[in-house]
């Protein structure tokens, strides 16, 4: 079943189109990775899906509902959460307060969800009273993902989750992403680290110059000669 679909999206800032008729499709329970060179429009696509940018053309459908042009605060209520690449935590708040802010719109008791997040990221449970701004890069990324997961989203959008992390920390974050996916959360991941992103993806999209270039299963893209040469370093 297709849970999220964006079709013929044209979007950009002021007069400049960054995305040109881009399409992407996520099936229920899938990890979809988007790879491509810098400036391909990968992050812009995530922002457009999440309503931070209004597309000039095209539509975004969440389970047969048209959410094109909705504002982020409405979209988040429909079950899509977004983790920006930078400034993705509240630095002056504690870890626990960051997670509580993720659940701000929940009116029910979310202590059960909080416990699940701490199970997923035990490192956060140990430091829940610590200011998030004092954490290292990997821990910050965990806080950011934890915050986005508090609403129990159907789809999680991750913008470069491994950016700026040492290889061992990046590997740990990828493991967490797989663990989150196992709980039934569908995901779209934008990544510079194309090899790792495709390894864990059920489906992958290659974007260049704001256009769809290729899309196939993660495995097929990993063994595709063209993709290997251009994006996986030979």
């Amino acid at each position: 079943m297709i849970i999220l679909e964006a079709t013929v999206i044209t979007a950009g800032y002021s007069k400049l189109d960054i995305l040109k008729e881009v399409g992407i499709r996520v099936r229920d329970g899938e990890i979809v990775s988007i790879i491509g060179p810098n400036g391909a429009g990968k992050s812009t696509l995530l922002k457009t899906i999440f309503g931070l940018l209004k597309p000039r053309h095209g539509r975004v459908m969440l389970q047969n509902r048209d959410i094109t042009g909705w504002s982020p605060d409405k979209i988040v209520k429909e079950g899509i959460s977004y983790v920006p690449q930078v400034d993705n935590i509240f630095t002056s708040l504690t870890i626990e307060e960051n997670l509580e802010m993720g659940a701000f719109i929940r009116r029910d008791d979310f202590s059960g969800r909080l416990a699940e997040i701490y199970d997923l990221f035990p490192m956060l449970a140990e430091r829940k009273k610590q200011k998030a701004g004092q954490l290292s890069g990997g821990q910050r990324q965990m806080v950011a993902m934890g915050r986005a997961l508090m609403l129990d989203p159907q789809v999680l959008l991750l913008d470069e989750p491994s950016a700026g992390l040492a290889p061992n920390l990046a590997a740990m974050i990828f493991d967490k992403i797989k663990a989150i996916n196992k709980t039934g959360v569908s995901m779209i991941i934008v990544e510079q680290n194309a090899r790792e992103a495709l390894k864990m993806a059920h489906h992958g999209y290659v974007l260049a110059m704001g256009k769809n270039v290729l899309d196939d299963s993660g495995k097929a893209l990993l063994t595709n000669k063209e993709v290997g040469k251009l994006y996986l370093g030979g």
Partner: protein
């Protein structure tokens, strides 16, 4: 000297109330609200209207509490004026600042608009009450306790310090313990991420103006109780307010509290060496020195 330090703490507690609001608004909307001082005046004059007008008219007793210079009328007028000024601040946001936000205006446009709002508020006060100094209880003798070392303290001043401590503690608990308070801190920290999390930032902005306005009103009334009312009182507070806010790291409300006390004490102690009319210059000098040597204020960097 001990007496001056005590008077400084009284003045500082009033400055703190204003500085907190200035800092709260800056923290979330990132602009310097030049109308904040005049919100203090509006609070003071609203209370004056209630004490000498409305509450007298409906027959609330004029008796004072023990050694204090005020009674039931002021006790009722105080929270009502805080609410009224919260309303004025929110109204200004709805009819003015929200429109500028929608247009994505720059900080200079915001600052200049707030300057305009400041003039409007002040002129309204001038129209109704004139340009003279006024008192909540004209002609009232204000006895002082004589402490050792020749220190004279008025009961009103003790009351002011206690009340300000209560207000600050309440604000602290609100910000640390309640969902809305935490969301205010989150929005001040990173408004984009707050929106991404689904926090209704427009509602947070309304709360921010309300709290800032209410505290400004409290500051203005307490100054009126301690000294006198004057249409320019709030405007004259603006420099100490900014000095306290910058000293305590702009956007940091705990810094604003501490900064307010420091500026208040510095201003009062300076009168031992300088003419009292130079008091604003003292605040201004501190502000410039801080901007030159530590522009992030004394609490800068500790939060982020």
């Amino acid at each position: 000297m001990v007496e001056l330090i005590f008077y400084g703490i009284v003045l500082g507690s009033i400055i703190s109330l204003g500085a907190i609001g200035l800092s709260l608004v800056y923290g979330i909307l990132r602009f310097a609200n030049f109308a904040h001082g005049d919100l203090m005046s509006v609070g003071a004059y609203t209370a004056l209207f209630l004490v000498t007008g409305f509450l007298a008219w409906i027959g609330v007793s004029d008796a004072t509490f023990g050694p204090l210079s005020f009674g039931w009328r002021m006790l009722i007028a105080f929270p009502v004026s805080m609410l009224a000024v919260a309303g004025v601040a929110i109204l200004l946001d709805r009819v003015l600042y929200r429109k500028l936000r929608a247009k994505k205006s720059g900080p200079v446009i915001f600052a200049m608009s707030s300057l305009g709002a400041a003039f409007i508020l002040r002129m309204i006060i001038l129209i109704f009450w004139g340009a003279d100094s006024l008192f909540y209880r004209p002609g009232m003798l204000r006895p002082a306790y004589e402490l050792p070392l020749g220190v004279k303290i008025r009961p009103d001043q003790v009351f002011i310090i206690i009340l300000v401590c209560v207000l600050m503690t309440t604000l602290h608990l609100f910000l640390q313990k309640t969902k809305m308070g935490k969301a205010m801190r989150a929005t001040s920290d990173n408004i984009e991420l707050a929106r991404v999390s689904g926090i209704d930032t427009e509602r947070i902005i309304i709360w921010t103006w309300g709290i800032g306005g209410a505290l400004a009103a409290a500051g203005g009334i307490l100054y009126g109780v301690d000294v006198q009312l004057h249409p320019y009182m709030g405007w004259n507070f603006l420099i100490p307010l900014f000095a306290a806010t910058i000293l305590g790291s702009i956007g940091n409300i705990y810094g604003a509290m501490v900064g307010g006390f420091i500026i208040g004490v510095a201003q009062q102690v300076s009168t031992a060496f300088l003419m009292p009319t130079y008091k604003p210059a003292v605040a201004f000098t501190i502000m410039i020195v801080i901007l030159l040597i530590r522009p992030k204020g004394i609490f800068g960097g500790s939060e982020r």
